[in-house]
Symmetry: C2
């Protein structure tokens, strides 16, 4: 496998509206997408766009608020009530090839590829096998990069 | 303040050599910098370069191994023995203006600006005031971006 673009950092929050205000008013973000529900992952999501080099798009901050306490992110927030860094997401050209790669290396892929927040297939790999980092792998949206 | 480039994600590890091998052999990184000691922060450090859009430099992964157990990162590893996401670092054009900005907003800046891993001035802001995210602010190296 070849290391892909660092698409986003997932940051969990107990209060999406407060986090959006924080990124806008304190961090100075001018480009924050509309929030939407992603019921497959049990979260409400929006993206803070950060500037990359030379006018390109940088790595996004994905703000995640649990839709209910009994979701994966809901349980994470219970242990980390302030919120914080939740996962790191890298792009790959082919999600099925990437799944086969991680599995061939003995890494625990969490479930089958499913549609993620960017509308392409994604999966997560268990942090235990990834240096403590919950890692999302997503197929690069067609026509991007 | 205007949101700057997401320079790097700090990932702490109990074993830098093993983490370098992981990013090279599992994640497919081809560009990992030489490790060096940063005694001011109590860590040994190297950077995994990730690709940005259109051939630009992407957000880096900064691998951090504590130089001893009684450092800040050493204590963090004691609580998180696998390692994991430790901090997020954004660039600013002027470190002193950024410090004044965060302080004016009631955010706890941890110490005075000091030289960081990229050779420019940095400071950290307390995660309690930053949505649970330990946040590093660094002055953009001259001549970059």
């Amino acid at each position: 496998m070849k290391l892909g673009r660092l698409n986003h950092i997932g940051v969990a929050t107990p209060d999406l509206a407060a986090s959006i205000a924080f990124y806008r008013d304190i961090m100075g973000a001018s480009d924050i997408t509309e929030a939407f529900d992603l019921p497959e992952q049990g979260v409400k999501v929006c993206f803070v766009n950060t500037p990359g080099e030379n006018g390109t798009a940088g790595t996004q901050i994905e703000l995640l608020q649990p839709l209910s306490p009994d979701t994966a992110v809901g349980k994470w927030i219970e242990k980390n009530p302030l919120g914080g860094q939740h996962h790191i997401c890298y792009e790959v050209p082919d999600i099925h090839a990437a799944k086969a790669w991680f599995e061939s290396k003995g890494k625990k892929v969490l479930g089958e590829p499913r549609i993620g927040a960017h509308g392409t297939l994604i999966f997560f790999v268990h942090p235990r096998d990834m240096g403590g980092v919950l890692t999302e792998i997503m197929e690069t949206p067609k026509g991007e990069h």
